[in-house]
């Protein structure tokens, strides 16, 4: 290499520094090992352990027994698991598109310099930082059939009182609505950040070419935001398929099992009825589904990016 000539001009101290840089393996490992041990120890080990568990009968206390694929076979036939899957799919199919579309609409509305815009943005976003437990407790009160403000308002308007969370026909949809209240703000801020990256030259050019507001939105803004949209679809879908906290706090899967979602099913089987092997099989089924959704959207994202 050309360094034979170069060494003459190099400060001798820097050569020592280079030599030092080569022998840094120990420092590198010392810096990363606490993170590596904790992160890998609490993910790789449990993932493999879960796989073993899913082939066993285990009550978290006594020694487990190997049963092969029996848990998975039972899962397929279990009507409770089937309805947990369908509740989760209904919740996801409503929550994901609604939150992403509303997020885009609100972000576009908030993407302008007018008075109070900072306040509007804050208010739209603030429910997102409220924990699911706090949301659940708050809405259990708001929607309490007897003492809640919702029925009180309906009464004032002369409308009939509703059962809300005690009505099997309403509970799941109310959970979607509460999640939209808190989760749309996330889509809004991600879209707002994305909108900063939409080239104003392109928008200007489209305007000059005679595009109206809708034309600019359809042909300039939306294509430019496509990567953001795909990310949000992925992120929101993964979150929706794993909904648990809000269900636990508000309905505990009821009434009549109408809000039992997959993770609630998994939690119940592991820590309430102590059938951990069965629960692990359900968890693995969900994880594989999540992986498929994630991989499909990643492939789609690459294709969009390549265009």
């Amino acid at each position: 290499m050309a360094s034979v000539v170069g060494t003459f001009t190099v400060d001798p101290r820097s050569r020592a520094a280079k030599r030092r840089a080569r022998g840094e393996g120990a420092t590198g490992w010392a810096f990363v090992s606490p993170s590596v041990v904790i992160i890998l120890g609490l993910s790789v080990v449990p993932v493999l352990w879960s796989l073993l568990l899913s082939f066993q009968v285990n009550d978290l206390v006594s020694p487990s027994e190997w049963v092969g694929l029996a848990n998975y076979k039972a899962l397929v036939k279990d009507p409770a698991f089937g309805s947990a899957v369908s509740h989760t799919l209904i919740y996801t199919a409503l929550y994901v598109p609604l939150s992403v579309v509303a997020g885009l609409g609100i972000a576009i509305a908030l993407d302008r310099k007018i008075a109070l815009i900072g306040l509007y943005r804050t208010l739209v976003f603030v429910p997102f930082v409220v924990s699911a437990a706090a949301q659940g407790v708050l809405f259990s009160f708001v929607l309490d059939p007897e003492f809640g403000v919702a029925n009180s308002l309906l009464h004032k308007l002369g409308l009939p009182a509703q059962g809300f969370f005690s009505d099997p026909g309403q509970a799941l949809y109310l959970l979607v609505a509460i999640s939209l209240w808190s989760g749309t703000g996330f889509c809004v801020i991600v879209y707002l950040a994305g909108l900063q990256g939409v080239s104003s030259d392109l928008v200007e050019a489209a305007r000059i070419d005679g595009a109206g507001r809708w034309g600019v939105l359809r042909h300039v803004t939306l294509p430019a935001l496509a990567p953001v949209t795909i990310f949000l679809l992925l992120f929101q879908t993964i979150n929706a398929l794993q909904v648990f906290d809000l269900v636990f706090v508000t309905t505990k899967g009821g009434p009549l099992g109408s809000t039992t979602v997959i993770v609630y099913f998994i939690w119940e089987k592991a820590f309430k009825t102590f059938t951990a092997g069965y629960s692990a099989a359900a968890a693995y089924t969900l994880a594989v589904a999540l992986l498929v959704v994630g991989a499909a959207l990643q492939i789609y994202r690459r294709r969009v990016a390549a265009r």
């Binding site: 101290r13 606490p34 449990p46 568990l53 708050l138 403000v149």
Partner: protein
């Protein structure tokens, strides 16, 4: 401030913002109502005066102060540990060449896609083996460092110009010295992002405390609030006062450091 002209968008945005704010306004209002006002039919929509009975009950009779302390300890330790371990790991992955670093980093990032419910039963069994179940340790250990923290620090350090560190390196400074005295003072955006994300995740978590904690004196606020609601569902003003106490630290943090919160959360979106 310059006055901006009135825009028709206010007619859309003001009601919309109100819709998002209203449940939280109601949370605050109902926490200062008397039980008499709440328990009559139809319930009052606005309090006659401010009654602090709910707060008095929650702070005096219940375990709320203890739960607040527990949540605070878990979050504070988790944030500190993520900052320390995250900067160490992130710096090493960004700057130090060592055998196996690429494989280990790849493996750590891959663990981000593992859903929590897949690891929760074995994590419970591991914590049981360690004798940590029903202690704050069971909540702290799994949240000491996340792959996201390490990754965010690594990305930030990679973006810093190397020249800043080279002079110190040539003068014989060790890596730790360089990290602490040269790199960290420049890393405020990354430090605040990781602090915000870690705080939100640990303060707001319910699932893991629900699994790992049994005794009410070890509850976190989220778990305590949930249980408290189940036991006191006729004392709504006390429940709402407890709810305000649970939400307040996050809301205050958000209002005080709104830019950092929004940048942190938007960055997870745009870089993810």
């Amino acid at each position: 401030m310059k006055r901006l002209p009135f825009s028709g968008w206010h007619l859309v945005l003001a009601p919309l913002a109100l819709l998002f704010a209203l449940p939280l306004v109601w949370l605050l209002v109902s926490s200062v109502m008397s039980n008499a006002e709440i328990n009559r039919f139809p319930p009052a929509l606005w309090p006659q005066g401010i009654k602090l009975d709910g707060y008095r009950y929650v702070l005096g009779n219940a375990l709320f102060p203890r739960w607040f302390l527990n949540s605070f300890i878990v979050s504070a330790v988790a944030v500190t540990a993520n900052l320390v371990l995250g900067t160490l790991g992130g710096y090493a992955f960004a700057r130090i060449r060592f055998a196996g670093s690429k494989i280990v980093l790849g493996l750590m990032l891959a663990t981000m896609v593992i859903p929590f419910q897949l690891t929760m039963i074995p994590t419970f069994l591991v914590m049981k083996q360690l004798g940590l179940i029903d202690t704050l340790g069971a909540l702290i250990v799994p949240s000491l460092v996340t792959p996201l923290s390490v990754f965010l620090f690594r990305q930030f350090f990679v973006s810093l110009p190397r020249e800043l560190e080279e002079a110190a390196w040539i003068d014989g400074c060790g890596r730790l010295r360089i990290l602490v005295s040269i790199v960290l003072p420049l890393a405020r955006p990354a430090l605040s992002t990781v602090a915000v994300l870690t705080f939100l995740a640990t303060w707001n978590d319910l699932t893991w405390p629900l699994i790992a904690i049994n005794s009410d004196s070890t509850y976190t606020l989220q778990l305590g609030l949930t249980t408290f609601q189940g036991q006191h569902h006729t004392q709504w003003s006390a429940v709402m006062a407890g709810n305000v106490i649970t939400v307040l630290p996050v809301l205050l943090g958000f209002l005080l450091a709104q830019k950092a919160f929004i940048r942190s959360l938007a960055s997870t979106g745009l870089k993810g």
